[in-house]
């Protein structure tokens, strides 16, 4: 008994160390900063400051944009994952490979490239001009940010859904068909319910980074669109108010926790699908 106890903790040791050093302690620091002011006395003001119009607006906009990009990602990713499932093993791994390929390049560089493409005199508008089509002005608008989010986070939606779909036993689908279900019924009664863990995990993996991003909004929003991530970043860098930054981060954590709770609720017993 004692031996298994030791073994269990020995094996989890590196992970425990990692988690304590790089997750627990930093979170404690954030909570400490968030609940104190510059003189170190306890205050709730940093957290309450989310109600000021400029913070609240940024939070609202962040929620809206990340929700929009999550929905778009889902709408794009699910059919793609279904197509991938239908392909032969060699073909689909090739397409998955193609999907992951852009991730070999730095995320900042790719976003910067989109800036050059979408600019007023950028690649896209030059092309449109050559084709005598009206020019598109989406750089520095919320649309450009949604676009950037979808572009950057789409693989994180495709992969978990694809992983779940590929694991669904074909026999289950055959059984449904044998019992007289048409393909629409099979999809809604069998495939979709079985793929929910992947969908949930995909949603989490797109929604959370979208909600907290400040780089995408900075690069594609021309600094005109302030998301909550930008405000927090500014508090930590330019304004040098770590207390306020931490307080706002704690508010953001609430939304992330809500998302996680939902994930766990939907995902009971199917933990394997969550990446």
């Amino acid at each position: 008994m004692n031996k298994t106890f030791f073994k269990k903790y020995f094996i989890s040791g590196p992970y425990l160390f990692w988690m304590i050093a790089f997750t627990i302690i930093p979170i404690c620091l954030v909570i400490y900063y968030g609940l104190t002011d510059k003189s170190g006395t306890f205050t709730l003001q940093n957290i309450m400051s989310i109600t000021t119009p400029e913070h609240f607006k940024a939070l609202w906009l962040s929620l809206l944009l990340s929700l929009a990009s999550t929905v778009i990602c889902l709408l794009l990713a699910y059919p793609l994952a279904m197509i991938l499932k239908g392909l032969s093993v060699n073909k689909n791994s090739f397409i998955v490979f193609i999907f992951i390929l852009p991730m070999w390049m730095n995320f900042l560089l790719r976003t910067l490239a989109w800036q050059t493409i979408l600019e007023k005199n950028g690649v896209l508008n030059t092309l449109l001009e050559i084709l005598h089509l009206p020019s598109l002005n989406i750089i520095n608008t919320p649309y450009a940010i949604i676009f950037g989010m979808v572009y950057n986070f789409l693989p994180f939606m495709v992969l978990p859904i694809y992983n779940v779909l590929i694991k669904i036993d074909d026999n289950v689908i055959h059984a449904a068909k044998d019992l007289g279900a048409n393909s629409v019924q099979t999809f809604f009664k069998i495939i979709f319910p079985l793929s929910i863990p992947g969908v949930i995990s995909g949603i989490t993996m797109v929604f959370i980074p979208s909600l907290t991003t400040f780089v995408i909004s900075n690069l594609l929003g021309g600094g005109k669109i302030y998301l909550i991530g930008n405000i927090i970043e500014q508090e930590f860098t330019t304004a040098y108010n770590w207390h306020l930054g931490s307080g706002l981060s704690m508010v953001l954590m609430v939304f992330i926790l809500l998302n996680m709770i939902l994930t766990f609720k939907f995902d009971k017993g199917e933990g394997g699908a969550v990446l």
Binding site: E54, H55, K57, A58, E119, K120, N121, N137, N140, G222, G223, K224, Y226, I231, Q234, F236, T237, T238, A239, Y240, N241
Partner: protein, 360 residues
């Protein structure tokens, strides 16, 4: 089956090996940071603010290894120095930030005996440096200039001469603003006829309202990108530091620079040595190297920011010496002001007002 397993193990092994390799190869570079080896020099400078060849020349001449990092605004630099996690030996902040660093006891006095070439620095610049470093003890002037408007002559109807052009509806979506608290407010306060060091709340509120009014007209709030965007004809008007002008004009003939009639900010960036510097003597050796006229000229030709080095200025081509964008005449300079450090309270006020502007 067994062969397959072997393959898997090989793949796993190579994955791990690759990860470890990449981690350690990054680590090597950084680990030298801890050693207080006297042949290192850690420099923290504005982005693209030195000729990289100057660094190589210095390394060759002295055998000192230069480690070079860059920042984008004074406000980003300050917390890095204050936190002290990385001890830089030389930093290049602007006037008001140097004052703040002196007031917060972050700087070491420079030993000018080690910098004989310091005598090349223009007396006039040393006088203006006294505004923030009252005894010229902490700073060695590096570059100076003004803030003004860069405009594209083909895209504006008439040459602007006032900050008012930044609020002109005609140029909606064609204006680039500086994403820097002090510059944005400084411009607006000057336009309103106030001092750009104002701490009067009503004046600042007025400036804030004006900046909010300007927001829909602005294409973007950027720092270093003004240059590239103006060169690429992305915007008609941009707020820019005078030192970028020569480069922009080399790349795009249609660009012109003006210091608006209301006056502007004249700034002076200086080298300072933080208190926790590990290689102070190397830093001073580097400063001495930079103050050599021929090095200052070489550096000027690369970064095109006006040099306070008198001996170097005399070596410059006539067209540079008389170019009002680079070395503005006294009549214009007299209308310009230097930024002062305004204290923590005022700083917080500025920041919160700026946040209101930006998140509107």
């Amino acid at each position: 089956m067994k062969k397959n397993k072997c393959k898997k193990w090989a793949a796993l092994f190579s994955c791990i090996a690759l990860t470890i390799f990449s981690i350690t190869s990054c680590g090597n570079k950084d680990s030298s940071q801890d050693s207080s080896d006297s042949s290192d020099l850690y420099i923290y400078n504005w982005a693209e603010y030195i000729d990289p060849e100057v660094l190589t020349m210095f390394e060759k001449e002295t055998g000192i290894q230069v480690h070079y990092d860059e920042f984008e605004t004074n406000e980003i630099m300050y917390p890095v120095i204050e936190a002290g996690a990385i001890s830089y030996d030389l930093v290049c902040p602007s006037d008001y930030m140097i004052q703040k660093m002196i007031e917060n006891d972050l700087l070491a006095e420079i030993n000018f005996d080690n910098i004989p070439n310091f005598s090349n620095i223009d007396e006039a610049q040393l006088t203006s440096a006294k505004e923030f470093d009252s005894e010229n003890k902490y700073s060695v002037p590096y570059c100076w200039g003004t803030v003004g408007i860069l405009y594209n002559t083909t895209m504006v109807e008439e040459a602007p001469d006032s900050w008012a052009v930044l609020w002109d509806e005609k140029y909606k979506d064609n204006i680039l603003m500086q994403d820097s608290v002090r510059d944005a407010f400084g411009i607006t306060l000057k336009y309103l006829g106030y001092s750009l060091n104002s701490v009067t709340e009503s004046q600042l509120q007025e400036a804030k309202e004006l900046l909010i009014e300007q927001r829909p007209l602005v294409q973007g709030y950027v720092v270093d990108q003004v240059r590239d965007k103006m060169i690429g004809n992305e915007a008609a008007i941009g707020v820019i530091y005078s030192g970028e002008v020569l480069y922009c004009q080399q790349e795009n003939d249609d660009l012109a620079y003006v210091i608006p009639k209301e006056g502007s900010n004249v700034w002076l960036d200086c080298w300072v040595i933080p208190k926790n510097a590990q290689n102070k003597e190397n830093a001073e050796a580097f400063l001495n190297f930079l103050c050599k006229p021929e090095i200052a000229v070489k550096n000027f030709e690369y970064i095109t920011y006006a040099t306070p080095n008198k001996a170097a200025k005399e070596l410059l081509a006539e067209e540079y010496q008389t170019n009002p964008a680079v070395f503005p005449p006294e009549s214009i300079l007299s209308k310009c002001e230097t930024f002062h450090y305004l204290g923590q309270e005022a700083e917080e006020l500025y920041n919160s007002l700026w946040k209101e502007v930006r998140s509107k």
